[in-house]
Symmetry: C2
Subunit: 243 residues, 2 copies
DNA sequence: GCCATTATGATTATCGATAATGATAAAGGT
DNA sequence: ACCTTTATCATTATCGATAATCATAATGGC
């Protein structure tokens, strides 16, 4: 109820996304990812509308988007609640994410134009900036945006939402369960630039490998538990090696 | 513009889903999957509202859902258009689907209650019925519902939308590109019951295997092209065997 | 006291109208 | 003729109010 903060996420692709529903979406999303809203907590359309100064319908649209993200569950006339991400779900999503992104990077290396790479470079600069400021939420938003931007180069449009969802829940889980003393600072930036270099050199295999190891390392660093669970869920699967 | 048909899809889980937006959703979805609306065609909120006898906001909600499904693309104030599913995208989604469902079935065999299996049995009966009537669209809806129902038993809730989307686009592709003389009739029913039997016997490995071979066979039967593309996309991937 | 039935309250779902936006066509100056 | 600016139009986005729904509490007969 207290988060009136207006988010300035530059997720828009050039055109002005000053949609009010977009603001509401980011505001609620932020509060969920930062655990300001507990899992299971009720979300009132009218209440949010009043607190953010807009209409119920606008909030509804934002909640619909959050539902796609898997962050809330809408139950008809009985209200909307904040969902939860279990360890096992996060583990499966992480598997999917690694697979998706490494394949995506493999394709991306062949398809990326200089302009694309320029754009990605810009995102890296923004991340460095967020790093300095110390805004870890903004940093995670940018991280997802960066990974998505790379994947987008593969041209596999319909798979983008799958990746979005995967990354979101992985972040959500690690955000809430990371050991307090982890050093989140310097390494990712370097790893990201390594990936970008592979893309520049059109080295698909290298890019795929770099992406894969980057994600695994982040996972290991932020949540060994989740990392372990991911590998466990692979072992239990009789078809791990196929398809 | 001509599809006024009211869909009676029983996708509701007990409670009355007589939502108007739900009707609109199914109506438009049907017309897209049956290719009554071409890829790239514009969808007017007001127009659909008038033709289906509801308000613009109600249509908007339906279009939002279709966007999650990846069946339409909304472009801000510039309108909504029917999306397209490329061969490559369908191929990747099919990969994901096979992997997801076989893993899901593996878990499902251990977790399914008799009531769950009863419900699935009911779906199979409905499918037989749709078969007799010859309603191939209803049949495909029920098929997706059936596969989702099995997957749901795995408890991997956040992954359900991924599967939904995968199955939808696989069906969409095969619907539009199937050779005209294919025999779609008897085999699936049998294959489905085989899967159900494995679940009854709590044979996870068997269920997973059955699901996998079922999907592959359907793919082979309905669209050899897509099946081929799926295997090709695997070969091009340096990490096919890992994760 | 107990069960079925009927109010009540809280919340979403839908509606109709108006505002905001972006594309395109028209106009005007040079 | 050409570029910039302004008007027009088609369409979505937002609003405020009302209807529909579900859960729960209150009621009444037995």
């Amino acid at each position: 109820m207290s988060s009136e903060t207006i988010i300035s996420i530059n997720e828009d692709s050039g055109s002005s996304k000053l949609r009010k529903s977009n603001t509401v979406y980011h505001s609620v999303k932020r509060s969920i990812l930062l655990r300001e809203r507990q899992s299971g907590e009720a979300l009132l359309e009218q209440g949010i509308a009043k607190s953010l100064g807009c209409s119920q319908g606008t909030v509804r649209e934002a909640l619909l988007r959050l539902q796609d993200d898997g962050l809330v569950a809408r139950r008809g006339y009985r209200g909307t609640v904040v969902s939860e991400t279990t360890l096992q779900e996060a583990a499966y999503l992480s598997q999917i994410r690694i697979r998706l992104e490494s394949q995506g990077a493999h394709l991306a290396a062949k398809l990326a134009t200089p302009a694309d790479l320029e754009h990605i470079d810009g995102l890296l600069d923004q991340m460095d900036n967020a790093q300095v400021i110390g805004d870890s939420y903004e940093l995670s938003e940018l991280d997802r945006e960066l990974h998505l931007a790379i994947f987008r180069l593969s041209g596999l449009k319909v798979l983008e939402p799958v990746l979005t969802r995967s990354a979101l829940h992985m972040h959500r889980y690690t955000f809430g369960n990371a050991p307090p003393a982890v050093d989140r600072t310097p390494v990712p930036s370097v790893e990201h630039r390594v990936i970008l270099d592979f893309l520049r050199q059109r080295d698909g295999k290298g890019a795929a490998k770099a992406v894969r190891s980057h994600i695994e390392q982040v996972l290991e660093r932020w949540s060994p538990t989740l990392c372990q669970a991911m590998h466990d869920s692979l072992e239990g699967d009789p078809f791990a090696g196929e398809v």
